[in-house]
Point group: C2
Chain length 374, copies 2
């Protein structure tokens, strides 16, 4: 933001700022990850004269008592409770938060804590970043998906007239505090949703994580602290080198192009499936595509597909919905000029983005999934 | 965003990003200012496959034809027309813009042009910065106030439940194109509003600008190109060194603490005055306060007060409203812990911020204004 380059040209002045401004705050982002993070985090909170907690009704019942019991010395000035559920990630709830913050006379000295899963951190980050042009916020994820994905990376926003995350911005929290203590409150679907993303990190960037997990069922795993530390760290590594998703961050979309079409299909049929189920299915298809393109060993494909099959039921779909799925894929934000671009696997632990795939190849992968055939 | 500092401590990982991420875009901001800027700006637009123009109904009638006639070769994909007026700077209009952008299938390759005054650039910047987590925008101010103030500095947002700019963010446009050609479309009130801010720059930072203007009526001035170049440049200089208003940018508030109380008072009485009238009155009061604190010559105070008096009528107020005005000042966003902090003049061309002023001193300045007494 320092220094100007200037040109004088007849009656015009041209002024160009040499570097771009930094928005909202110049403080670094800190992450505290692992058993004990919650208790440790009290030192992050001590400088704020007012702390407001944003949560939903489930978090209020199951996680707020845990939060308070681990850091009883932290004084909470207010609690804002929004409705839970992905379908409640909308502008009306953001408006409700702005309204509550206004009523509480919150100013820029205050801190907003987003205590909850992805819906809370997405809406809460957006509301905080735009309230009085930005108040600081800290994410305390309480779900596995939040811990390894949603709370990290600064994507905030709300859905708008049927489009996911249509209104929002990239803005990092002041800190992210990830403590597995909250996992005890999760139900099976929530475990599955997060676990699909954990497996994805193994496949796209972290061969070592994959080795720890392969062949295991979720219920067999007991070293969650280790796994969350690795997975969260994988996400941090990716977003730190490509915050605005211009390049390598696109690798995180592995499994999501086809996966999102499953998610939308079942949502429109009023039989919603979880994000985890959808992208687990998407990753099976996209691993098949990866093998077709990059020609890795059959054993590798088998190992990956097997891992998803022991943890996720196959979706109940048949070949007659393939045209519908293709249409849904073409509406994806990532589609440019009608071309389908995928993030695929070069091998286990290494992804590559911006790979163009033909509709025929996508159909092949869907048939592979539906027929469970090799 | 490069590099991590890490500490391993028992079972916790601490990860701190050394530098803060830059949001939305890393391109520098460019300003093109002066006669000919509009025609010159076509080269800024050529790389965008789609260009959408945001404006209000007045701009559509008076300025859009000028825009099109100067750069006919620029292809406009769509026009979004919002309602004019400060009281229309609300979330519903932002929602309308997001809705229109969605209907037009606008994606991140597109550019939004904010063609208009402060309301258009404030709402348009906010809507663009938050649509699909940010599309680029360029401001083309069409009012004097827009050219020297609102279009520069990245403050965007909307009013919310009676609070000015309660929802918004700091985000710079890609460029700002300031061409005095649009000034021909202004009415007298719009001239006055911008002129008060021009005089403010003379007083707080630009003695040379003040010398050019002093003793003149708006209607006597014919070198607007020169004046706008200087005033816009003054604003750029201030915001580039303090984008987030942590320090020197607060100097821009000279005249605004008392001025805003006048503005709010008349708004509540349903007799709204312009921002220019309000801050012209505010600057008379705050110049008087400045002289009390910094003890500059009487001639200097006289020169400043005279300059406002030949260009702005005094407001019709009496001493019985002083308590109301003080209450309004205490509700100001800049008040902390009930203390009134002012940005005052050390001398002509030099301001100083964060000066604590007692209510009694404020009353003195209001009486000075009302009684026109020395």
């Amino acid at each position: 933001m320092l220094g100007l380059v200037e040109f004088i040209h007849s009656s015009l002045i041209f002024v160009t700022m040499k570097t771009s401004p930094v928005f909202l705050d110049t403080k670094p982002v800190s992450y505290i990850i692992g058993d004990g993070a919650l208790a440790y985090s009290k030192r992050l909170l001590k400088d704020f004269p007012r702390i407001i907690i944003l949560l939903d009704e489930n978090v209020k019942e199951h996680c707020l008592p845990v939060f308070k019991s681990f850091i009883p010395e932290v004084s909470i000035s207010g609690v804002i409770c929004i409705k839970s559920g992905e379908d409640k990630k909308n502008l009306d709830q953001a408006r409700y938060i702005w309204d509550e913050l206004t009523k509480m006379n919150v100013d820029k000295d205050a801190l907003l804590i987003n205590l909850g899963g992805g819906v809370v951190s997405d809406i809460g980050g957006f509301a905080a970043a735009t309230f009085k042009r930005g108040i600081p916020f800290i994410n305390y994820p309480t779900t596995l998906l939040g811990m390894v994905d949603a709370a990290i990376g600064g994507k905030t926003g709300v859905d708008f007239i049927g489009f996911k995350n249509q209104v929002g911005l990239f803005i990092d929290p002041r800190s992210v505090v990830i403590d597995p203590v909250f996992l005890k409150t999760l139900d099976e679907k929530q475990w599955q949703s997060g676990f699909a993303e954990v497996l994805k990190y193994g496949l796209i960037i972290d061969r070592e994580l994959w080795k720890i997990l392969r062949g295991k069922k979720i219920s067999d795993i007991d070293n969650w602290n280790e796994i969350i530390m690795k997975a969260a760290r994988d996400k941090i590594d990716i977003v730190k080198s490509d915050f605005l998703e211009k390049g390598i961050r696109k690798n995180l979309n592995f499994g999501h192009t086809i996966g999102h079409s499953f998610e939308s299909y079942f949502l429109k049929k009023d039989k919603p499936i979880t994000h985890g189920q959808a992208i687990a299915a998407g990753m099976i298809c996209e691993t098949w595509l990866s093998q077709k393109i990059y020609d890795f060993e059959d054993e590798c494909l088998e190992e990956i597909v097997n891992m998803f099959d022991i943890n996720f039921d196959r979706l109940d779909i048949s070949e007659d919905i393939i045209p519908t799925l293709l249409d849904l894929m073409r509406q994806d934000k990532k589609v440019r000029k009608g071309k389908l671009k995928f993030s695929l696997l070069r091998k286990i632990g290494k992804a590559i983005h911006h790979v163009e795939i033909s509709p025929e190849q996508v159909v092949g992968s869907l048939k592979f999934y539906m027929n469970k055939s090799w």
